[in-house]
Amino acid sequence: MAEHQHVHIEHPDMYDPESSKIGMWLFIFTELLLFGGLFIVYSVYRYMNPDAFHLAAEELNTFIGAFNTVILLVSSMTIAMSTTALQKGHKKVAIALVVITFIIGIGFLVNKYFEWGVKFSHGIWPGSEQMLNEMSQGEILFFGLYFVMTGLHALHIIVGLVIMGFAIRGVANGKVNAKRPSLLDNCGLYWHLVDLIWIFLFPLFYLIH
């Protein structure tokens, strides 16, 4: 009897695109609350140290920030286009669009690398001599939060890139297709979330004065 109770029985094919989509949305709620905690911390300290936050924000390069915002928005568009391409059965176009999104994501990280690098070369990093000796408490908090929040966001970008890698492989070998698009769809949803969080981080750190 145990003979026909083999492997496949443990993995009944339960593919349901609706379930995957709900699951991803729920995960996005979780992510929003994860960042929500940080946004609360930011607002409290901004309220307590308005002048210091203003002063510290001057240090940031608005141009690089704006440039990163623009390219991330474009990448959101390209990933959305790839989902549509897959629905229409244009496999190669879909792959090309995810690859473009991937490259833009890398570009974002490269910019971030240079941005952080400049801060480091000015002696600004959590716990550095320069910060502890020359900055007010409000400025220390600003840069502490800047590194934590943009760092966590960069981590999300990296996770998004990994998921994109899987999506590209899936579309290429045909496992992700017009009838089973969930991996690419969810990859897109996740990327939009990463984009959305940046849309909030950008004004909070670079623009508000």
């Binding site: 026909h4 109770q5 009944p12 349901d16 729920l26 979780t30 905690g37 140290n49």
Partner: protein, 537 residues
Amino acid sequence: MHTTNAVNGANYLTYQGKYKGLLGWIFSTDHKRIGLLYLYSIATMFATGVLLGLAMKFELLAPGKTIMDAQTYNATFTVHGVIMIFMVVVPGLPAVFGNLMMPIMIGAKDVAFPKLNLLSWWLYIAGVVLVLCALLFGSGSPDTGWTFYAPYSFKTGTNLLPAVFGAFVLGFSSILTGLNFLVTIHRLRCPGLKWTKLPLFVWTLYGTAWIQLLATPVVGITLVLVALERVFGVGVFDPALGGDPVLYQHLFWIYSHPAVYIMILPAMGAISEIIPTFSQKHIFGYKAIIASTLSIAFVGYLVWGHHMFTAGMSGTAQYYFSLLTFIVAIPSAIKVFNWISTMYKGSINIQTPFYWAVSFIFVFMVGGLSGLVLGSLATDIYVHDTAFVVAHFHYIVFGGTGFAFFAAMHYWFPKIFGRMYDKAWANIGWLVFTIGFLALYSPMFYLGMMGMPRRYYDYLEEFHGGNILSTLGSWVLVTGFIIIVVNLVRSARKGEPAEVNPWHSKTLEWTVPSPPPVLNFEKEPVLGEKDGPYNYD
């Protein structure tokens, strides 16, 4: 819904999949096997936590140093708390009975994402291992209390980092379980099982899952901040760098108070299954129980401040949090009234699960009402940080969730293992355990009112009597626990084969063979107009 005794092929305990032996379990995506994995791992951690609790009680047998010094005592209550909260009561009922029973109760083959479910268990194990690393290696066990309050949590020289990271990983495991259950309950209910026919245990898991999903990330990021504070000194909670330690407390309790409802809601759900079954009567106020479940889940988010009345907070905020705390007590009371009314004029079948359920109601009421003493501003100032608080939350968390866990264990045991336990020994175990519980925690209400502070390894001579009684109670409780465990373990292997539906219940899990087959149902069940989880006549 007709019952069948036909056992065709292997059941979930005996079948062999891709792997043999232990690997066939730890890599199984079958929700029932994962449920049992959780049961064994959580039981192990519970036993560890009990031993630590026993050691603390032994220390308090007499004033002064009895068996350990102050530092060891601090580490002991910290580790006891971390284990019991993050590894036992938070995952407790959802991870064990939610996994074992919920998919069957809604007529599904499995949860929506079986692989994710297995990943949740692996994350749980990873979290456990991390916390154990904090205990065994490095510069001593954490001594901050399970709340990891700033600024001490980044000043202490003990090995705190793995413990904080472990708690974060355990939180992630909890989030994924919640996500999985939400999608499962939305998408995989069998035909005819409308929301208004859903068993109440499933409803409470649904409410719990929302809390897991929306509250856990907040403590997750808070713990990350503590870790970054320790490693890099970012300053977010460090007053020396401009940070605010009270903000840490806010963020911590924004999760950790709703977490109390993660612990208690599924417990209430299990009781809502057991009471109608053993009263053979439709649950009283089905919709009121659902409404109260959802309102507890919602209002529970907004009361975190009552943990911080003495920490420095504006008077307005205090009034607000105190008022909401009283409001959240109302839906809990509604449930108690519903359970009692269900028993009224029912044909009560007194069995072990029923004993556990009724004693649950008693300890839950004592715990709940003493919570109101802490929720009102004036009395809270008086008993804050005393043994009274310890007694209150052990009545709720251990008395509430723990008693409900044992109730659920004795209720679903024949279904899970296909064998019946020795009922006489089960009843004796319950009696001894309950007597021990009351003797252990009741004196602490008195001691707290008299002013004995919590978290000290020493106390004044005048508190000696109450502490002796409490320590004796801990020994009786452990004796009861051993009786229960020995009886269950022995019965799981050698007990009488169980019937399909030994308690004559109406929910779907009692229509499948005991133990259930691999895919739960031979063919998908369909609920007719007159079928329902509590339709007894």
